[in-house]
């Protein structure tokens, strides 16, 4: 894994340890979709990498654009550092679903105040 950035004793970032002729292929299936890593190809340059990517990853299923990038240029956080994505505190305040209780309160309050009109 060597050559990563170390914080304390932990390596949390490294470059992908990949031969130089390996290109990562990202495929966009439909215009509004994100590009998704679908695999790699071996090629001496970007042009050939795109040709091989088309032959290998776009034979039958939909594809509108392909990206290729030298895999060895990709930096990644390490699996060891996966904990850093775990929320340190309760982040329920970031989710709409957390506010349902409040909506229920409003709704029941509204029903209470309109009870007479219903009858």
């Amino acid at each position: 894994m060597g050559g990563g950035v170390t914080v304390g004793a932990e390596v949390w970032e490294r470059r992908l340890d990949t031969p130089r002729d390996v290109w990562a292929v990202f495929l966009q299936a439909r215009t509004r979709d994100p590009h998704v890593h679908v695999g790699d190809v071996h090629a001496p340059d970007a042009e050939m990498a795109l040709v091989l990517a088309k032959e290998n990853y776009a034979r039958r299923d939909p594809c509108v654009t392909l990206w290729v990038v030298r895999a060895a240029e990709i930096h990644t956080t390490t699996q060891d550092a996966a904990e850093m994505f775990e929320p340190a505190i309760d982040k329920s305040y970031r989710f709409g679903g957390s506010y349902r209780r409040q909506q229920q309160v409003y709704r029941s309050a509204w029903r209470l105040s309109h009870r007479d009109e219903d009858q």
Partner: protein, 315 residues
């Protein structure tokens, strides 16, 4: 790969090993570049390299039938299928590479006859009916193994297998169409199909290997999820799915000893000659030498393409 290459006893750090095993046990998968026991790396490379070799060698028997396909539609479909197989080899060599072997090294081992590929690709494809058998039953057998391995512990392999199984399903559907047209055809076509099935039956039973011995090695492979189901489980799964297809079309299963045991929910079959499997596995099958020579000839013939690509990129 030789037995001699197997590492003696893994010299792994016990703390890392314990952490690794705990992760696998909790259903976690291992990504490329992460720590793994040496024995795990060894077995994973062995499995994936053998799979990659089998895909590229598996393209050869069917390839023989592209120029002789009976209709244009069949020719197009067969070409697409063969192209898929070569594509699978490409994906798999790349996965094996993430475990520390170079593609050149693996390819050299294959063409020099020092590596292994699946037993079924050492046999001839004599008639058009063989194409149907290969597409339905050989791909069907491979699908049992590969389908199970989608839940294996090496994530890059599991991801590639999803894609491979998706394409293998097309191969089986295509094969069933060829199978159906022959099985519903003239008496001569039906006889041709039965003859192909008779020749392929033993290699198909061999495909999954001998029933696993209960050994610490097998136990460990299962615990590490490099193996997901036992050889016999996979063979039974295959028989349950594919014997009915043979019977449905009024053809004969070429094993008089085959019967379904209701109480055990399994097929009993005649024990095949396992020596043949060992012989074929060591590249001494009826077509081993010829196919390896063909692979090598193509590899040499295409050397100029690889060179030209590199020169072009450098220019």
């Amino acid at each position: 790969m030789d037995q001699a290459l197997r590492p003696q006893e893994p010299q792994d750090d016990p703390e890392q090993l314990a952490r690794f095993e705990q992760r696998i046990q909790s259903g976690d998968q291992i990504e490329a570049g992460e720590w793994m026991p040496e024995a795990y790396r060894f077995e994973a490379i062995r499995l994936i390299q053998m799979h990659a070799n089998s895909e590229i060698m598996g393209a050869l028997p069917e390839r023989e039938w592209i120029p002789r396909a009976p209709t244009l539609a069949r020719k197009l479909a067969l070409t697409a299928k063969v192209q898929d197989e070569v594509g699978h080899a490409m994906l798999l060599y790349r996965v094996a590479e993430t475990l520390g072997r170079s593609r050149e090294e693996m390819f050299a081992e294959l063409v020099e006859g020092r590596a292994r590929f699946h037993n079924v690709f050492h046999y001839p494809a004599e008639t058009w009916a063989d194409v149907a058998i290969i597409q339905v039953f050989v791909d069907g057998a491979a699908m049992q193994t590969q389908g199970a391995l989608r839940s294996c512990s090496y994530a890059p392999y599991a991801r590639v297998l999803k894609r491979i199984c998706y394409e293998e399903d097309f191969h089986i559907q295509l094969g069933l169409d060829v199978w159906r047209s022959l099985a519903e055809g003239t008496p001569r076509q039906r006889a041709m199909l039965q003859d192909a099935l008779n020749r392929w039956w033993t290699p198909l039973i061999h495909f999954f290997g001998m029933p696993d011995k209960v050994s610490p090695h097998t136990e460990r492979m299962l615990a590490w999820r490099i193996k997901v189901k036992s050889n016999e489980e996979l063979r039974q799964q295959f028989l349950r799915r594919f014997v009915p297809i043979i019977l449905e079309y009024g053809l004969v299963v070429p094993d008089p000893g085959l019967r379904w045991v209701e109480g055990e929910q399994r097929y009993v079959y005649t024990e095949p000659d396992w020596e043949e499997l060992k012989r074929v596995g060591r590249n001494n099958g009826p077509k081993s030498a010829e196919r390896l020579a063909l692979r090598l000839a193509f590899y040499r013939q295409h050397a100029w393409v690889r060179e030209a690509m590199t020169q072009w990129a450098a220019a």
